[in-house]
Amino acid sequence: MPSIAKPIATHPSLQRNELGLTIRDYEGAMSTLCAGCGHDSITAALVRALWEISVQPHMIAKLSGIGCSSKTPTYFVNGAHGFNSAHGRMPPIATGANAANRELIYIGISGDGDSLSIGLGHMCHAIRRNVKLVYVIENNGVYGLTKGQFSASADIGTKSKKGEKNRMAPIDPVMLGLSLGATFIARSFSGDKDQLVPILKAAIAHRGFALLDVISPCVTFNDHDGSTKSYLYTRQHELKAIEADFVPPASEILAHIGKNGAVSVTMHDGSAILFKGVPANYDPTDREKVIAYLEEHQGKGEVVTGLLYVDESVPDMHEMNHSPDVPLIRVPYQKLCPGSAVLDKLQEDFR
């Protein structure tokens, strides 16, 4: 880990956002991940995205499980709430937290091990419930903390650091999300913040569960020749299918559309995602076309990136459950738990 804390010195032109905060106010502790880890770049993208949309730090909840990826929440927004759960259990914890307080912005950080192996079931159900949660999978294809075994996202034929080939089929979180009815699906690359930052901002604005599969090379165990999750391989095989811009609610969305002649999807909070450079026969709101496009290109070994699919029409967990607009934590205790007499009466009704 670095020998010193990041100096408090800043560039003289350092800007402030609408809240009067600088980007430095959205940083966390110094990273103890390996130097050059993709996860740290994702952290930097999160810091930038949260600063740019002027989120109040205390209105953010950061959640994670176990693994290299799950250390990430420590490294951004010191002033936010945080919960580091048991391995793979971040989705149910996030679901519970969101059930209790729907006002916070939930950012769950997970990895390919945490999400696609031990926590796969939990992730699937959080997707089904459409919990309003930004769910980032920092996907490097290996178990870094246990010295580089293949993870469930390792491609067939990819090589370990020692040269051994993987034979098991990978779980592709994007295809999995599409099959489970996820309502916001994106893939990006830690080495491309120009793409990742707008996707993160759109994910925060999304009505429900936002699944982000971010290729995040492991410099220590999976950045060699023969790996399909290295910096070089990702750069050589990346296909930026969709270019998307996030347009905050206050902005004049129509003006943007008029200029670019692009497709726009209005988000639940009044913001918009502006799709430019969408390929022919591709519609980011049409699940079948997205699946067809991904199968065609991923079959050729391409890593398709961009904000791949959005559906703003599906209600989130609270809407499905008709929970009150007021967060449950602010509902008086007597009302939430009316006592044994009321329970007895309720049970009496079922006898």
Binding site: P2, S3, I4, K6, I8, S13, G36, G191, L232, R235
Partner: protein
């Protein structure tokens, strides 16, 4: 842009803003580190190598390094470089055995130095160890030139002055006191192998206004300071007007405070911000109760019954840039004494104009900027004598360059043959996240100099006002230095473009981008380029994407986090050492600091 060539010593040298700004290129960060380690003697010797007079300069330097200091661009106040130099000088141990050895057997060459000021002394300092016989002609009975006669003792105590002059004279310089040179022709006839003219700019400028010569209470600033230094003057009237607002004016007004003046006004033609005096000298004068009156142009001296009663001034109104003015009215200021401190001039009545030394239209000798040689071979100029009033640190640098020329000249090498500067780059990496320098950024504020209290300091002319930094102040101030000589050295071939360095940089000085012309590239940086005087480093093409790594040198704090977070050691923190050639020492590869 073309990839930056960091093998050219100038590139990294320029990053070390203080060293680049110093005429003598003193290795400031290195000596500050030595002070931090308590190695005061080593710090002193490192200073002495380039600037020859660390104790004197630690009190009186014009400090071109400080306005240049990168720290000033980060928190508004530069490192107190000059004060730290004084700490090294005050706390140093014995250095006799570390001064250059003087060969017993001389090389048979005789060099004359005219004047015993800093330029001549530097020439002697550089030539004596090479076996030269140096004869120094001093017009007064003591050495030091303007350092002694024009800098009051409350700023520069005489024991400090004589100690450092003694280091050089004790090398065996044949100094001849009370020996003004009256004729260059006569000196030439004495058969010296080379002659160095370091006679300073000894004539104060006149202000020929009505009444100037009708009283003996109008003084020329530098002459008046000189007469104090010699003990000829020990009092002044109560009401004193100083005309001019340069550093000499500051010395005059502060000296007046000590000699009986109690209403002392410095009269400036132009508004604040356009003064020649260094800000800290102005500050010190105002602390002593001196009033600075702006926008007043002298009109005439008022003499009544043969006695000076004061001066009339025109009150001016200036435009925003203080270029043009108009007169508002005329105003009278009473005065017992007036001191003129409006500049200095050179004067060479003793150089015959028919011996091949050309003079220009301002009656200044024509001197080559690199070689310090005038139009007659074998005669060299330096210090204020060369191009008019500068300062001590320039005089030292002129002395070094003149010594190289003299050594060349005496050995039959063309004086134009200058040996190049060199540079050493050594990695400071000791292990993972371990460096051989202290890379943490210390947010300490610039330390304030402590002064002797006002009543006590006015009692005597020679009470040094500045007390120097104490140990705690020194410990805090050294940590403010950013170690700009520990350079961020980049190897493009190793970069995997993981962005780790860009993400961690606290001052957003790094960018990976498509290459372009400088103007275009500067617009696409992580943080806007707000200081175009600072270079933009550009790497060769990065292997994976063909983009380039760019670094805006402006506010890099040299914390080394880019190198700590680099997985491939594409970034390294390398200590840059500028190797400066001196007379007889082509490029000094043996550092004077023992490892």
């Amino acid at each position: 842009m073309q990839p930056t060539d960091v093998r050219n010593p100038n590139y990294y040298h320029k990053v070390v803003d203080c060293q680049w700004a110093c005429p003598a290129h003193t290795n400031v960060p290195e000596y500050i580190r030595l002070i931090a380690q308590g190695r005061y003697t080593d710090a002193y010797m490192l200073n002495r190598e380039s600037n020859v007079f660390p104790s004197i300069l630690g009190r009186t330097c014009d400090r071109p390094c400080e306005p240049a200091c990168r720290r000033g661009r980060l928190d508004g106040k530069p490192v107190a470089i000059c004060r730290l130099k004084r700490v090294a000088a005050d706390l140093r141990g014995e250095i006799k055995d570390r001064l250059p050895k003087i060969p017993a057997k001389k090389n048979g060459k005789r060099v004359a130095c005219i004047g015993g000021g800093p330029a001549s002394l530097t020439v002697a300092n550089d030539l004596m160890p090479l076996g030269y016989e140096v004869v120094m002609f001093e017009k007064y009975d003591k050495p030091g030139g303007l350092m002694r006669t024009n800098i009051p003792a409350f700023r520069l105590p005489s024991e400090v002055l004589y100690d450092e002059i003694g280091q050089i004279l004790d090398m065996g310089v044949d100094i001849r006191y009370n020996s003004p040179i009256e004729s260059m022709k006569a000196l030439l006839a004495e058969g010296f192998d080379a002659i160095f003219v370091g006679t300073g700019a000894p004539r104060g400028k006149e202000l020929d206004l009505p009444g100037r010569h009708d009283t003996n209470r109008i003084h020329i600033g530098i002459d008046w300071l000189e007469s104090i230094a010699f003990g000829h003057t020990d009092s002044i009237g109560e009401k004193v007007l100083i005309i001019g607002v340069g550093n000499t004016a500051m010395d005059c007004c502060r000296s007046s405070c000590r000699l009986g003046g109690n209403s002392i006004k410095v009269m400036a033609r132009r508004p604040r911000g356009f003064f020649k005096a260094s800000p800290w000298e102005l500050e010190d004068a105002e602390e002593e109760g001196v009033e600075i009156i702006v926008n007043h142009a002298p009109k005439r001296f008022v003499i009544e019954n043969g006695k000076l009663t004061g001066m009339e001034f025109e009150r001016l109104e200036w435009d925003a840039k203080a270029k043009n003015s108009k007169t508002i009215d005329t105003i009278f200021f009473p005065a017992d004494d007036v001191i003129l401190a409006i500049g200095q001039e050179n004067s060479f009545p003793w150089i015959e104009r028919d011996i091949g030394i050309e003079f220009d239209k301002w009656d200044m000798p024509v001197v080559d900027e690199k070689t310090m040689q005038c139009t007659r071979d074998g005669i060299f100029f330096g210090g204020d004598a060369a191009w008019g009033p500068k300062n001590i640190i320039w005089a030292a640098e002129h002395g070094h360059q003149a010594a190289i020329s003299i050594h060349n000249y005496c050995n039959g090498t063309p004086v134009t043959e200058r040996l190049p500067q060199g540079a050493n780059l050594i990695s400071t990496k000791m292990g993972i996240s371990e460096w051989s320098y202290h890379n943490d950024y210390n947010p300490a504020q610039r330390q304030k100099m402590r002064h002797v209290d006002l009543t006590r300091r006015f009692k005597q002319m020679n009470i040094e006002v500045e007390l120097g930094f104490d140990i705690e102040q020194t410990a805090r101030e050294v940590q403010r230095c950013l170690n700009c000589d520990i350079e961020t050295d980049f190897t493009a071939a190793r970069c995997i473009e993981c962005d780790a360095c860009i993400d961690v940089c606290p001052v957003q000085c790094l960018t990976i981008a498509r290459n372009g012309e400088e103007d275009d590239l500067r617009k696409r940086l992580s943080a806007p380029a707000i200081n175009l005087t600072q270079d933009l480093y550009v790497s060769s093409l990065l292997p994976q994407t063909g983009r380039i790594m760019a670094k805006d040198e402006d506010v890099c704090v040299h914390c080394g986090l880019c190198a700590e977070r680099c997985p491939t050691a594409a970034w390294d923190m390398q200590k840059f050492e500028l190797l400066i050639p001196y007379a007889g020492r082509p490029v000094n590869t043996e550092s004077c600091v023992p490892v």
